[in-house]
């Protein structure tokens, strides 16, 4: 157990966690409002959408791929689902079914194209982002849906306590969705054989093929799951926004990628964890939130975020150089 702890201390996640905890402690003392349950809940709510997408993206990255098209997939999913419930009385089941189903289908299409075209997944999914987004804007004429059914606007929420003044703490759909996505990703990656196969595919695709793991099937799991989370995320996003705006989400894909990479996932594939992704997301959220609470002009937040991100990726690269060198040595020696 002790050696396990020591091994953990050497991992990227541990260092990231240390930085995040330090920042947390600093912000708790330096600002009046940071250390409160309400602020925590607010943060979780506003980061639910990118967070859920990050939970999906980390699966694709672990499997050695990359998906850029998920914002367009989410936009299509929410547009289809919300249009449907505006016209027919489908309820929650219909809403979720249509959004998740359409997300899943588009994800599967991505998987087939990535596997079959054999060109870099980033290129395929950039192309598909444009295909999906263009189609959505064409079919919707760019029009928003501003009137949502009452039951959807009200959403699902539970009061889980109250502060000293009697203001309630509310557990909403966003927080539940975020928790659900991370739980599902964790189950998939760490508790199923499929998760290990995905990791194997990302770590050494040729060897995975030789063991008999099907690249197409695993890509369908990874990109399909990405589409599934995009569908799920689109429902909670539309609920909190109170409307569906077709061009609202596209353009945020690189922010999500940043959170996943900050969490230690390697674009070379095979490396990445649920906990790391969550901490990466938390770090970005806290930097953002902390700067505002510290009174830094919101106009400078991107600048600081960019700086934090660059520092982090430089550190990760520095650490990983040795590992990569070790791997290369074996390959060279064996060849």
């Amino acid at each position: 157990m002790r050696s396990g702890l020591r091994a953990f201390a050497r991992t990227h996640e541990a260092r990231l966690l240390a930085v995040t905890v330090l920042l947390f402690v600093f912000l708790s003392f330096a600002t009046r409002n940071f250390f409160s349950i309400q602020n925590g809940l607010d943060l979780l709510t506003s980061y639910a959408f990118p967070g859920m997408l990050a939970a999906g993206l980390v699966v694709v990255i672990v499997a050695g791929g990359l998906d850029i098209s998920f914002t367009a997939v989410a936009s299509i999913a929410q547009f289809l689902a919300v249009s449907a419930i505006g016209r027919y009385d489908l309820g929650w089941a219909g809403l979720c079914g249509i959004a998740i189903g359409s997300g899943l289908l588009l994800g599967l299409l991505n998987a087939i194209l990535v596997t079959w075209l054999r060109i870099a997944s980033i290129i395929v999914t950039i192309a598909m982002l444009n295909v999906y987004y263009g189609l959505l804007m064409f079919l919707s004429h760019g029009n928003s849906i501003n009137t949502l059914p009452g039951w959807y606007i009200d959403g699902l929420s539970w009061v889980i306590g109250a502060d000293a003044h009697g203001n309630p703490y509310i557990l909403n759909m966003q927080i539940l969705g975020l928790g659900l996505s991370f739980l599902l990703t964790w189950l998939l990656l760490n508790r199923t054989t499929t998760g290990r196969q995905l990791r194997a595919l990302g770590g050494n695709p040729e060897a995975a093929k030789r063991v008999g793991f099907s690249t197409l099937r695993l890509n369908m799991v990874a990109y399909g799951y990405m589409g599934f989370t995009a569908g799920l995320a689109s429902i909670v996003e539309a609920q909190v926004a109170g409307s569906v705006v077709p061009n609202m989400l596209v353009g945020r894909e690189l922010d999500v990628l940043a959170a996943v990479v900050l969490g230690g996932a390697s674009l070379l594939g095979g490396i990445g964890s649920v906990s790391g992704t969550f901490i990466g997301l938390a770090l970005l959220a806290m930097v953002h939130n902390g700067l505002i609470l510290l009174g830094v002009s919101s106009f400078w937040i991107d600048c600081v975020t960019g700086f934090v991100f660059l520092t982090a990726v430089a550190t990760i690269a520095w650490e990983r150089r040795r590992q990569r060198a070790a791997i290369r040595r074996t390959i060279v020696a064996a060849a």
Binding site: T193, R196, R210, I271, T330, A334
Partner: protein, 493 residues
């Protein structure tokens, strides 16, 4: 003994290349069988067909336990107990030792249980008597340890046949002995083992039967007891070679490069050597003996910790390989595919890359005709057979690729040429061509350091041979004064 595997009339064509031509092969349960042949003789293709990675061309049959297999897939081959340990080991560096060994256990779609994974890994290690930390990542292991993981994985799955593709290439003698011991252990459990190797002596130590392939055709299966490594060599190459050692250098010539007390911790210790104009100095030793690391230091790519490098008698400090090139040192890497040449790019670009800054004409632009002349000159000079200089290097045969590698370095006008394993992956006939070029260059006054782990290569093509082991020079031999076996012994010691 019962026949485990029978291959009948196996052929395989890739595009215009006939990789295998009507090959038959039997493997009996519990036998140790050696598959021998030169690089490119079809060994790897045959293995991949047995493993179900490639289907054989129509007309061939594969029988496992007497049952005919139609459409053998990787999964089916594994299920029937055929395990291949590929040259690159096929491990997952991002996963733990236990997960790698029990990767078969993670097939299908279900919840993962760590208990069985650990148990499978532990019992596999016990069976063959090794112990490794199950929770370490494979990326943190040494090459020998990784090899053990690969063997454990093969034996974890109730293997009936384990095929090892060049398993000894990167091992020290002690590790090779351990591996041979493991093989006997597998045999005791009546698992058949097929060794694929070009290291003949090791193979003959342990194999019972030897099958020789040459240019995709089977030369025959022989009893290993009646086989000598010389005869095997002749079978593999299809001709007998009359080797002549080089005559000693005549008149004394000035030294081109000398090294005194050169050390780099972890790589090599206290190296002193000197190579003269017109001399071919052989350096041999196993992988990991420090030979390549020493060469990289002479080429300015790895800074030594201590010691002196003298070029033409003057001490120099080499900060980069660019400075080494300025001092007239050239280095042809052992790893032609990923370090020696840029395989996807045109032949012309590869020849010109070392001297591109010397080809500038008006306005600082690359003079197209100067570049063309340079490329033509070296293609003619070294007799490189090409279609067009604009074809990718990867379209050439191994021998011609290596000549392109020589061309790019000769273009720099070097005084010392360091050749690191220059005939890896080159056919026998083409090997001779390269030796002839190297000898001719030396006769014209070039100093050459020839590094190789193939002992005959350095023995018959050097004026002097240094043996390196564990980072030190352990012996110096002059081929015209000693026997090849003496050198062999010095390397194995």
């Amino acid at each position: 003994m019962a026949r485990f595997l029978e291959l009948r009339n196996i052929s395989k064509r890739f595009g215009g290349v006939q990789a295998l031509k009507s090959v038959d092969l039997d493997i009996e349960a519990g036998e140790v069988h050696c598959l021998a042949g030169e690089n490119g003789c079809g060994k790897s293709t045959l293995i991949k067909i047995i493993a179900g990675v490639h289907p054989p061309d129509p007309g061939g049959t594969i029988l496992i336990d007497g049952e005919e297999q139609s459409g053998l897939t990787p999964a089916e081959s594994l299920r029937r107990g055929i395990q291949v340990i590929y040259q690159d080991l096929s491990l997952f560096p991002n996963m733990t030792v236990a997960e790698n060994i029990a990767i078969e256990h993670q097939r299908g779609v279900r919840l993962l249980r760590w208990g069985p994974v650990q148990r499978i890994a532990r019992s596999a290690m016990q069976q063959i008597g090794v112990s490794l930390d199950l929770d370490r990542h494979v990326s943190d292991l040494s090459i020998a340890e990784r090899q053990l993981v690969a063997i454990c994985r093969a034996s974890a799955n109730e293997a009936r046949l384990v095929i090892m593709d060049e398993p000894t290439a990167s091992l020290t003698r002690r590790e090779v002995d351990a591996l041979l011991h493991l093989t006997l252990e597998l045999k005791r459990r009546s698992v058949a083992v097929v060794f694929v190797s070009h290291r003949l002596d090791e193979v003959l130590e342990i194999a019972e039967r030897v099958t020789v392939l040459q240019n995709g055709e089977k030369r025959g299966t022989f009893d290993a007891r009646d086989m000598t490594s010389r005869r095997l060599g002749e079978l593999m190459t299809g001709r007998s070679f009359e080797h002549h050692v080089m005559d000693p250098l005549g008149a004394p010539t000035p030294p081109v490069l000398s090294v005194r007390g050169l050390s780099r911790s972890g790589d090599y210790e206290d190296i002193s050597l000197s190579v003269r104009e017109g001399e071919i100095l052989g350096i041999t030793g196993r992988l990991g003996s420090g030979r390549t690391e020493l060469a990289l230091s002479l080429f300015g790519m790895h800074r030594p910790d201590r010691g002196e490098i003298l070029v033409a008698g003057r001490p120099v400090t080499l900060h980069s390989n660019r400075e080494a090139i300025e001092h007239g040192i050239a280095y042809l890497s052992e790893d032609r595919l990923s370090l020696g040449l840029v395989m996807e790019q045109p032949i012309a670009a590869n020849v010109a890359v070392t001297v591109i800054d010397r080809l500038l004409g008006r306005l600082g632009l690359v003079a197209a005709d100067a570049r063309q002349d340079l490329v033509r000159h070296w293609i003619g000079e070294l007799g490189i057979k090409i279609g067009s200089p604009d074809d990718a290097v990867s379209t050439l045969s191994g021998g011609n690729q290596q000549r392109v590698g020589l061309a790019k370095w000769l273009a720099t006008g070097p005084k010392l040429l360091i050749l690191d394993s220059p005939t890896v992956g080159v056919d026998v006939g083409a090997k001779d061509g390269i030796y002839r070029i190297v000898r001719r260059l030396a006769e014209a006054g070039l100093a050459v350091i020839l590094i190789s782990d193939e002992i005959p290569e350095v023995f018959y093509n050097s004026h002097r041979v240094l043996v390196m082991r564990e980072g030190r020079i352990t012996g110096e031999f002059e081929p015209h004064r000693c026997e090849e076996a003496v050198l062999q012994e010095a390397v194995d010691a």
